[in-house]
Amino acid sequence: MNPLAFLFRTSLGKKYLMALTGFGLFAFVVVHMVGNLQFFLGREAINRYAYFLHSVPELLWGARIGLLVMVGLHVWTAIQLSAENRAARPIGYKRKKALGSSYASRTMLMSGLIIGCFVIYHLLHFTVQVPEVNFTGKDFHDLVDAEKHHDVYQMMVTGFLQPWVTLFYIVGVGLLCLHLSHGVSSLFQSLGLRTGKYTPLLKSFGFWMSWVLVIGYWSIPISVVLGLKK
């Protein structure tokens, strides 16, 4: 078989694609959280960081296209594999006990679909900044700081003061971390890197990373809602 064709045709090949793109997206989620946490360093720090990210459009768009390709492949393999998996059991059980499997592992498709919806909203909300979806009556494009740069800090504070928006964010990020609590350790399984003595290490890495991520991401809207950051 053509060494690359197997990636797109066989079940294991699709699992490799899912694992590789999952790893890339996991790395993005970690970097994105670290970047966001500069919110706690104050207005100047996060606005400067945002300005820095947008300063080289070639790199910015390179990263964006890269992420989009990864999301596309991740979703495509998920759809393909789910369809094949469903077809593999046309008649289900009357009674079924889920033994030895975590809740996260059994609900990867559902958590993934909701995360997909959340990501689309999140992009419209904070990246494209469509005024109609932020429910504040303001246009985030108009927010500028003392240096005439886009005021990301103010956008986050204003955005997270909307209860429904914040709730969706909390749920979306929560499901993302549930997804990752299974995904991070099992991507190493799919790539054949999780054996023997590495298994407990990778399992706890996945578990703790998802907690670090959920706390990191939640800390921002929660501090806004509690009025700690204005």
Binding site: T10, N85, R95, A98, G100, S105, G192
Partner: protein, 247 residues
Amino acid sequence: MNLTLKIWRQKDRNTTGEFVTCQARNILPDMSFLEMLDVVNEDLTRSGHEPFAFDSDCREGICGTCSLVINGIPHGGQKGATACQLHMRHFRDGQTITVEPWRAKSFPVLRDLVVDRSAFDHIIASGGFVSVNTGGAPDGNALPVGKVDADQAMDAAACIGCGACVAACKNASAMLFVAAKVAHLGLLPQGQSERYQRVVKMVNMMDQEGFGACTATGSCEAVCPKEISLDFIAQLNRDYLVGCLKP
């Protein structure tokens, strides 16, 4: 003990089946699950009804023939044991027990609780062997095998091919079975020369037979009567990747 059974009844592979309720009377706690079904079948035969068809052979947990999903768990949930080694003392008097066949497209029901597991044979025939010339038995220790490799190969070779992994998997995936069969040959020196062709052929046959893919939930490992480890699946994934990329 008296029990109520909800059992799958299906005439043949082309008819749709249904659950029927029947009573299991005068069951002794020391009977195995299969012996309990024998008693039920004898009662049915005496009263002029058709007994339930189910698979069994050795009845000592080593052949992998019995294939019952009992109360939603393949082999009934006793750790490291097949249904024939599950005893009625694990049930309560008066309990209702649901008994179903393995459910997978690749394991069509032939009758009642009997499924056709030829798909596993096809996977083995596609590459689950070593091509060696037969002859006199080789000298002991002529081919040194490391202790760790020998132990792991033996752990994998413990697979009896019952198909509980497929039955338990939410995707009806045969990965644990294929992984065990690939590993027990791939870990030993005799299996090296065909190692990578073997894994590619067996996985491709697994796909062709219509089994699902692995989500690494761990359900297969939990119900496996021989407690085959999920680590073998990781090794299968690694070997397959190497096999596909090898020139």
